[in-house]
């Protein structure tokens, strides 16, 4: 028997791997550690990927995502405009305490990375924005941002901040007990909580599982205490990167470096929803010529959800054929969905084949297997929507 995937059995012996502030806790909890984005990270705990996934959809999963890059972008005024020169989202429209998902673009309209951008507000006569980028891209992203912003703006890296995610239907009840008022946070908003035991914690109602939940940015030296306090609740279990990947895939959320890269545009990546109307019309972001043309004429290819018909999972790299057997695209994420109890995949196909219901074939171990295009997500999102007063 031999494994075809490096992610499952990558040796974590490399001495130059970084450790998050929760490393000791992961080891104590019996995690299987693997190299990920330059860090020694937990891929799963003794519960196993399948049960960790289902636990998160049913209760609350706690994730260590401290490998991600956190930074502040600060300036006396015009910070939103400065950010808009790098991303296609409407940042100027962000009110204090609100956040948006966007992409750092290259000059060809390809995606350097995807990120979360929060407007913290004004303090000390300056405007503060909080950015969270992918761990594997953070060094390049920070260099790119520093180079792109004018001399009046300052990038502050938050190297000393850990990032935890508490995700699942029970997350709100659990967090409300520790940080009263957390339940009032609207989806895609962020607020500072002063806590006695964990110091200042930036709490956002966001995540990467499709479930209601929070991300908690906390000082590195308080992170283990916060994690242990959350884990003390019966409904909370620590969840590894394996289940994080299957959760986000079922939720139809892109993984940078797989579903998105320097060649894919946000239009191809099915991310048009993240480019607000003013930006679509005005442009003013890198690669605007290409992206506006794709918005007008349609992209050459588009990211789709794929439902394989049998039980065999189709993995990243599997060729996608049309019914006639012509190659029309490639799978960029694929695996087994524990909640849907079936294989799930995403990939790019030529625009003519991107419509939901279109029959496809996926080449798995040299054999074409029937599949069809489905509308994402595989599992409906369960985000918190504030009832109208």
């Amino acid at each position: 028997m031999s494994s075809n995937s490096s992610s499952e059995n990558g040796a974590s012996a490399a001495a130059d791997l970084l450790r998050t502030p929760l490393f000791d806790l992961h080891v104590e909890l019996g995690a299987k550690m693997v190299p990920f984005a330059g860090y020694d990270m937990p891929v799963q705990y003794p519960l196993g990927v399948m049960k960790e996934h289902l636990w998160t959809r049913d209760k609350a999963g706690l994730f260590d995502v401290s490998h991600m890059g956190q930074c502040l972008l600060v300036g006396a005024s015009g910070v939103a405009h400065e950010i808009e020169r790098m991303v296609p989202a409407d940042i100027a429209a962000l009110k204090d305490g609100r956040m948006r998902y966007s992409q750092l673009l290259n000059d060809a309209g390809g995606i350097r990375d995807d990120l979360m951008i929060s407007r913290i507000g004004e303090n000390d006569g300056r405007e503060w924005y909080f950015l969270v980028v992918n761990g594997a891209c953070k060094v390049a992203d920070f260099a790119h941002i520093k180079q792109s912003i004018g001399p009046a703006f300052e990038l502050q890296l938050l190297d000393d901040q850990a990032l935890l995610a508490l995700q699942g239907p029970a997350a709100v009840t659990v967090l409300e007990q520790m940080m009263p008022g957390a339940r009032e946070l609207a989806f895609m908003s962020i607020k500072l909580f002063e806590t006695k035991d964990f110091g200042e914690v930036w709490v956002s109602r966001s995540g990467y599982t499709g479930e209601d939940g929070f991300e908690l940015s906390v000082k590195a030296d308080r992170a283990a205490a916060l994690a242990k306090a959350l884990l003390a609740h019966d409904d909370v279990a620590m969840i590894g990167l394996g289940a994080r990947d299957s959760l986000r895939l079922e939720a139809g959320l892109c993984l940078y470096g797989h579903d998105l890269d320097e060649t894919t545009s946000p239009v191809e990546g099915n991310l048009v929803w993240s480019i607000q109307k003013r930006r679509r019309e005005e442009g003013g972001f890198p690669g605007a010529t290409r992206i506006q043309a794709e918005l007008r004429d349609g992209p050459a290819r588009r990211l789709i959800g794929i439902q394989p018909q049998g039980r065999a999972p189709a993995r990243e790299g599997a060729a996608i054929l049309n019914e006639a057997g012509d190659e029309i695209g490639v799978v960029t994420s694929g695996g087994f969905g524990p909640t849907v109890q079936a294989p799930v995949a995403m990939g790019y196909v030529t625009l003519a084949h991107a419509k939901a219901g279109t029959p496809l074939q996926l080449v798995v171990r040299g054999k074409p297997m029937p599949a069809k295009v489905i509308k994402l997500p595989f599992v409906p999102h369960n985000y918190f929507r504030k009832p109208k007063a």
Binding site: N9, G242, S246, R315, G335, F336
Partner: protein
Amino acid sequence: MATVYYTTDHEYVSVDGDVAAIGITEHAQEALGDIVFVEVPETGKSFAKGDDAAVVESVKAASDVFAPVAGEVVEVNGDLADNPSLVNEDAQGKAWFFKLKLSNKTELDGLMDADAYAKFVEESA
């Protein structure tokens, strides 16, 4: 009474006369985690030693199962298609993958016995 041999690829070969049941070891299923898909070969197919013979997939990864010895497939385990988690429950019992009619029994000499395999697992940990 069957004699069980083991390979460095974490497969077992349970030999009863001229026929051997092939599967993955308890150690292998534990390392793979939750098994979600198994593909077994067709009955009648002949393998040389080392050929790709079957596939086992966990939530995260796909792995090949090799023919640890040469032979012809005389029986396959049909239960695994509908119930792949049987591999997690009983890897070295009910969850055998396929049975080979051995074409060269001397190939078994190159495999490990239970003690040697246990030592191998310990040393490669």
